[in-house]
C-alpha cells in the first residue's frame, strides 16, 4: 500500500464570532493558505472531500456549497456527513486505493450564526421518546460525566483540572477561550449539566481548516514530512438510542484502536501526544482512559503522551464538524515542529481522536508520524 503524506495545511483560525466573512470566504482563505503551504496549485489536486451537516449550515445538501472556494470545481467530490476527521478517513482511503494521488480535505463551521443550536441538536435524538421531553441535549454529557465519576471513582475536581489545563494552553496560542485560570477558579463556576460546570463545556467558535493529502509517489517528498499512518473509526451506539450506552465509557475508541493494530500493524498507544475533540471536560478523561493514559498522570505531562497540547475544544472552542480538522492540523503542526508556545519537544508521533458530534458514540482515530523523505 502506498504511504499517505500530509503535504499542506491552512486555517482560518478559530474565533468566537466572525462577523466580516461568510463561511465560504473563510474556507477560501484556509484553502489559499494550504495551497501556498504545499507549494501546489488547485490544478494539482484531483479531488475534494468535505464535511458538514445540513442544519449546522442552515442549507440542505450542504455539499452543493463546497467546491468553488477550495478550487474543487469539476473535480472528484465527496461529502462526509460528520466530523472532518471522518472526511480525512475517506480521503486516506481514496489515496490508498490508488484512485487519486492528491486530495484536499475541508472542514468548516460557523456556529455563531445558529441562534438556537440546542434545538438543532435536539433533533438528533429520538422523536418519539426523547424530543418531547424538551431537555437540552447537552444533558446527555452530564449523564455521561456522572457515570464516568461513578465508574472510575474519580474526584470531580479532575474536570476543573482538565478544563484549566486546556484553557491555559489556549492562552499561549491566542485561542479564543484561552485565559489564565486555575482549577480552583473553575470550581467556583456554576453547574450547567451537573456535574459539569460552565467552563467544563466547550463554547462555540467559527473556524475553517483545509489539508492536502498526497501519495508519496505522486509529489516531490521533502526531507522531513508528516505521514498519515492510519485512520480508523467505529460506532458503539446510535445517537437517538443514547440510552443503550455503556455509560461512562467511550467504547468506540477501543474498537478503532484495535483496527489500527490489526489492519495497519501500528501501535496507536505509543505516541508523544494526543489531540482530541473534547466537547466536555469529562470526555478528555473518558477517552484518555480508553487509551490507557492514567488521568492523574497525563495532567502533569511528566510521563506518557501529552493530551491536548493545543488546548482542545475547551480552549479553542467547539467548531462543530470542523473540530476534528482543528485537532488534526494542530497535530500536524506538532510533528512539523511548528506548534510554537505549545510545542511538545521532540514529538515524533501523535494520535488524533475525534467524536462524530458532541453527544454521539461514534468517532474516528488517526495516527500521524514524522517521517524522513
Amino acid at each position: 500500500m502506498r504511504r499517505v503524506l500530509v503535504v499542506g495545511l491552512g486555517e482560518f483560525s478559530p474565533k468566537a464570532r466572525e462577523t466580516g466573512l461568510e463561511i465560504r470566504e473563510m474556507t477560501f482563505e484556509a484553502a489559499e493558505r494550504a495551497y501556498l503551504d504545499a507549494g501546489l496549485r488547485p490544478e494539482d489536486v484531483q479531488g475534494i472531500v468535505s464535511s458538514g451537516l445540513d442544519f449546522n449550515e442552515g442549507v440542505s445538501i450542504t455539499d452543493s456549497f463546497t467546491p468553488d472556494q477550495v478550487g474543487g470545481r469539476l473535480k472528484f467530490n465527496m461529502l462526509v456527513s460528520g466530523d472532518a476527521l471522518e472526511a480525512v478517513y475517506h480521503a486516506f482511503m481514496i489515496v490508498r486505493s490508488g484512485m487519486l494521488d492528491v486530495v484536499l480535505v475541508d472542514g468548516h463551521a460557523k456556529p455563531s450564526e445558529i441562534e438556537n443550536y440546542g434545538d438543532v441538536l435536539r433533533c438528533s435524538l429520538d422523536p418519539y421518546c426523547s424530543r418531547p421531553l424538551g431537555f437540552d441535549p447537552y444533558v446527555i454529557a452530564g449523564l455521561e460525566a456522572r457515570a464516568f465519576l461513578a465508574r472510575t471513582g474519580t474526584d470531580p475536581v479532575a474536570f476543573s483540572k482538565v478544563a484549566a489545563k486546556n484553557i491555559n494552553r489556549a492562552a499561549l496560542t491566542g485561542g479564543p477561550y484561552g485565559e489564565r485560570v486555575s482549577p480552583e477558579d473553575l470550581e467556583s463556576d456554576g453547574y450547567l449539566y451537573a456535574p459539569l460546570r460552565r467552563r467544563h463545556v466547550a463554547r462555540p467558535s467559527d473556524y475553517a481548516g483545509v489539508v492536502l493529502l498526497a501519495a508519496e509517489d505522486a509529489v516531490p517528498v521533502p526531507e522531513e514530512c508528516v505521514e498519515l499512518v492510519a485512520v480508523e473509526s467505529a460506532g458503539s451506539s446510535s445517537t437517538p438510542h443514547f440510552w443503550l450506552r455503556d455509560w461512562g465509557r467511550a467504547r468506540w475508541v477501543g474498537a478503532a484502536l484495535k483496527r489500527i493494530e490489526s489492519r495497519h500493524g501500528a501501535d496507536p498507544r505509543d505516541v508523544d501526544f494526543v489531540e482530541m475533540t473534547e466537547f466536555f471536560a469529562h470526555q478528555e478523561l473518558m477517552i484518555a482512559s480508553e487509551l490507557g493514559i492514567d488521568p492523574g498522570v497525563h495532567l502533569d505531562g511528566r510521563s506518557g503522551p501529552v493530551v491536548n497540547p493545543s488546548g482542545g475544544c475547551l480552549g479553542n472552542g467547539n467548531s462543530l464538524t470542523a473540530s476534528g480538522m482543528r485537532a488534526f492540523i494542530a497535530s500536524v503542526k506538532q510533528l512539523r515542529g511548528e506548534a510554537g508556545a505549545v510545542q511538545v519537544r521532540g514529538a515524533e508521533s501523535g494520535l488524533v481522536v475525534s467524536t462524530h458530534s458532541e453527544i454521539a458514540e461514534i468517532g474516528t482515530v488517526a495516527l500521524l508520524r514524522r517521517s524522513g523523505g
Binding site: 442552515g58 468553488d68 478550487g71 470545481r73 450564526e113 445558529i114 441562534e115 418519539y128 424538551g134
Partner: protein, 215 residues
C-alpha cells in the same frame, strides 16, 4: 389497521416551560390529523407484503423544525444588496480571467484568486431559460396565478466556447418575469429589472420586483 396522530392537549403541556409547551402546541395544530387514512392503508398493504414484520397499528408523532440562523453575507454580496437599495446592480470582475460575477463574489473559483474589482451593470440581460410555475412548495395546491421564473444572463458577460454553442460562463441570476404573458416568453428575450419604489427597498433580492421585456 389504524393510524393515530399524537396530539398534545392542555393536560399534557401543563408544567412544561412555556416556550417548549408553545412549540408542541404549534406542532399539534399545524400537523393536525393529516393523512391518518393514507397511513392506515399503507399499514394494511405492508402487513400483507411483509407478514413477518406486521404492525398492529401506527402512531404518528408531530414535530416542527424551528431553526434560526443569522447569516453574514460577506463583503461582495453585502455590497450587492446595498446596491439594490439604490437601484444599482453591482458585480465583480476577475482580473485573471476577465469573467464578471453578478451577484458578485470575492474570489474566482477558476483562477483561484481574490476578486476585488467592483463593476456596475445596467441590469439589462437576456432570458437564458425560463419556466412557468403553477405550484408553490406544495404540489397539491395550484397557484392562483402562474409565475414565470427565469435565469437572466446579464448583457455583455457571456463567454461562449469556440466551436460550440455552449455558454462557458455568464453572470446570471434567477428571478421572476413580469409584464409578459407566459406564452410570449422566449429564450434569448431581452429583459430589464423593474424596481420596487425607492422608499420600499430594503437591500434585499426582492427589491427587484421582476424582470420585464425591453419593448
Amino acid at each position: 389497521m389504524s393510524a393515530r396522530v399524537v396530539r398534545y392537549g392542555p393536560e399534557q403541556l401543563e408544567g412544561l416551560p412555556a416556550s417548549f409547551a408553545g412549540f408542541l402546541r404549534r406542532a399539534t395544530e399545524e400537523v393536525g390529523s393529516g393523512r391518518e387514512q393514507s397511513w392506515s392503508k399503507a399499514v394494511s398493504e405492508f402487513n400483507e407484503r411483509v407478514p413477518e414484520m406486521a404492525l398492529p397499528g401506527l402512531v404518528v408523532q408531530p414535530w416542527l423544525f424551528d431553526f434560526r440562523y443569522r447569516r453574514a453575507t460577506g463583503e461582495a454580496v453585502g455590497r450587492f444588496l446595498e446596491g439594490l437599495k439604490e437601484g444599482r446592480i453591482i458585480g465583480t470582475r476577475c482580473e485573471g480571467c476577465g469573467r464578471v460575477f453578478i451577484p458578485p463574489r470575492s474570489f474566482c473559483e477558476l483562477c483561484f484568486r481574490r476578486v476585488r474589482t467592483y463593476v456596475e451593470h445596467s441590469g439589462e440581460g437576456e432570458v437564458a431559460t425560463y419556466s412557468v410555475a403553477y405550484i408553490g412548495t406544495n404540489p397539491r395546491e395550484r397557484l392562483a396565478r402562474p409565475e414565470v421564473v427565469a435565469v437572466i444572463w446579464f448583457e455583455g458577460t457571456k463567454v461562449v466556447r469556440p466551436n460550440s454553442h455552449h455558454v462557458f460562463h455568464a453572470a446570471g441570476l434567477m428571478h421572476k418575469l413580469g409584464e409578459v404573458e407566459p406564452s410570449e416568453v422566449r429564450i434569448g428575450m431581452k429583459v430589464k429589472p423593474v424596481w420596487r419604489p425607492k422608499e420600499q427597498r430594503r437591500g434585499e433580492i426582492t427589491d427587484i420586483l421582476y424582470f420585464a421585456p425591453v419593448r
